[in-house]
């Protein structure tokens, strides 16, 4: 089953003005249901513009966008219903918190779609638990929490809407290593438990490859690369060429290769590098 499909999708900002610029250029791609997809690219590569098409915040200048195999810009589709199917979490999502208590903030969406009190409560509790929001925070002001905690409350608010597709724009930006791992691990767990489709946009290649099964690299509005995570770094040279970082451990693997030692093109975690090196040494010792 296909969760998302774009057909020759293009988007221009400022049409008819001197500032006209093509932000997304002829992108055709399909995303399978249940996948965890990472999207990486420079500032200005078009990734934010692309994801704003996924729940109809932007309407393509050219091309089509299909969610759950329906073209969302046809008369038969109510665009509001698409926003319930696709949850979009913006950068610095904690800035969207506004309620007096954590509970009420998470409950805001479910309340607006007219769910019963019991259902609202059940959803808030489920979402809170999924994002590691402690029960005793629920009665507190969200503004008394730390940055990472606030971020998880904001995510819980979107998850409480129980979308089938969750799009996250830089969910870990600005957090310290502990806060970052906590947020991303919770998202990964939620993906495993719920089976929904998740798109993770990030500047950090290390974060993307740690969590995603497939990776999209965007460059200048176009689709530069769309590969399984294990295959991404066989294109390491091209990725570096367009000015993106590859993980330090991948750089190490490339340096070793240049010295005549091949530990593989699929090195992006310390664990794998360690295993391969020990394997080589183990062979040698025999």
């Amino acid at each position: 089953m296909t969760a998302i499909e774009t057909k020759k999708l293009s988007y221009k900002y400022g049409i008819g003005t001197p500032f006209e610029i093509k932000a997304v250029d002829d992108i055709s791609l399909t995303v399978e249901k249940g996948s965890f997809l990472g999207i990486i690219g420079h500032t200005g590569s078009g990734k934010s513009t692309l994801i704003q098409h996924l729940n109809g915040l932007l309407k393509p200048t050219h091309g089509e966008i299909l969610i759950n195999e329906r073209n969302i810009w046809t008369k038969e589709v109510n665009i509001r219903s698409i926003r319930f199917e696709v949850g979009l979490v913006f950068q610095y999502s904690e800035h969207q918190l506004f309620e007096e208590t954590v509970f009420r903030d998470i409950a805001f969406g479910p309340k607006n779609i007219g769910l019963s009190e019991e259902e609202i409560k059940a959803r808030v509790m489920r979402a809170a638990q999924a994002m590691g929001v402690h029960e005793n925070w629920l009665s507190r002001s969200p503004f008394d929490l730390s940055g990472g905690q606030k971020r998880r409350v904001a995510l819980a608010g979107v998850i409480a809407m129980e979308p089938q597709i969750l799009v996250l724009d830089e969910p870990a930006a600005g957090l310290d290593p502990y806060g970052r791992d906590k947020v991303l691990t919770k998202i990964k767990e939620y993906h495993e438990n719920s089976g929904i489709t998740i798109l993770l946009v990030s500047h950090s290649m290390e974060d993307i490859v740690k969590y995603a099964d497939k990776v999209i690299v965007m460059n200048k509005g176009g689709l530069f690369l769309y590969e399984k995570t294990d295959k991404v770094f066989s294109h390491a040279d091209e990725i570096v060429e367009i000015g993106l970082d590859v993980p330090q451990i991948t750089r190490l693997a490339r340096l070793l290769k240049a010295r005549g030692i091949d530990i593989g093109d699929d090195i992006y975690t310390v664990e794998r590098a360690k295993a391969r090196i020990l394997e080589l040494l183990g062979k040698a010792k025999k």
Binding site: L175, D176, Q248, I249, L252, I261, V270, I277, L278, A284
Partner: protein, 290 residues
């Protein structure tokens, strides 16, 4: 010569009730003793809430000690009458460039502090041109700051500080909101300023940035728990992980391989060193096999 010195520094964030009485005290610093020498490049590492930003805010009198002393260039920061002198000695750059840019034109923003100090116009011109050229934003001097990239905006903020000709610049997570390109631009600028003799205190939680400093202190729960060169600090992988910090990937790899019995040095900081050391070991191994 020391430029910043803290003596047994304590700081509590106080919460007041409606009548102005203290109802709650949240201690953020517990007896910090730190000396920064002139010309140093010091990185302060710590997770969120470790007290590193609170400490930084004492370095030019934004916060004043609850107990203990802070001296800037031998001036006590608690001496209210000398606060301008202190702020001209130590300049601050914060995390979010959008929060520190006030003017509608780049060069006006860089000139803002000098205008407030009543510096003569000719001298302002000279000092801001010099500052903008130094951080490589002169070509945008007539641009609107909001049309610049994050890295460029952060360099505008740094230029504004440099125009004050401070002896020391404290940067509080200046790259946290930037993309990798912006991060590189700002780190390059910071290193260049240090080479010109300006003391740098860099507050960060990026290990690869801290590895570029000449000295690193690690904070946890409001106290300094480690102090040394990057090599010394990053060889203590377990201690860093215990306080919620990362180590660079190659440092972790070297640590893991050492645990597994591979004879690698403990203080590997970058991929070049690591590749060199590993290549020797792996090639030896291969030669043995043949």
């Amino acid at each position: 010569m020391e430029i910043i010195k803290t003596e047994n520094l304590y700081f509590d964030y106080e919460i007041y009730d409606d009548k102005g009485n203290v109802v709650e005290k949240n201690p953020a610093l517990h007896g910090v003793n730190l000396t920064v020498q002139k010309g140093e490049f010091l990185a302060v590492l710590g997770h969120n809430g470790s007290g590193k930003s609170t400490l930084a805010k004492h370095f030019n009198g934004i916060l004043l000690p609850s107990r203990g002393k802070v001296f800037v260039n031998n001036i006590d920061v608690s001496d209210d009458s000398r606060i301008y002198e202190i702020r001209q000695t130590v300049g601050m750059v914060f995390q979010n460039p959008d929060n520190q840019i006030v003017a509608a034109i780049v060069e006006e923003d860089v000139a803002f502090a000098l205008e407030n100090l009543g510096v003569p116009p000719d001298e302002i011109r000279e000092r801001i041109d010099e500052a903008m050229k130094l951080v490589d934003i002169y070509k945008y001097h007539k641009h609107a700051p909001h049309r610049l990239s994050g890295g460029q905006k952060q360099r505008v903020a740094i230029a504004g500080v440099i125009a004050m000709r401070p002896m020391c610049i404290v940067l509080d997570e200046p790259t946290a909101m930037l993309d990798p390109k912006g991060r590189k631009e700002v780190m390059g600028t910071i290193k260049m300023l240090n080479e010109k003799g300006i003391t740098i205190v860099l507050i960060t939680h990026y290990m690869e940035e801290a590895a570029q400093a000449r000295r690193v202190v690690v904070m946890d729960k409001g106290a300094i728990i480690m102090d040394g060169t990057p090599k010394e600090i990053f060889s203590e992988v377990e201690k860093l992980k215990a306080v919620g910090l990362d180590v660079p990937q190659v440092t972790e790899l070297a640590y893991e391989l050492r645990k597994a019995g591979v004879k690698l040095p403990a203080n590997i900081l970058n991929e070049d060193e690591c590749a060199k050391e590993l290549a020797v070991i792996l090639k030896e191994g291969r030669d043995l096999l043949q």
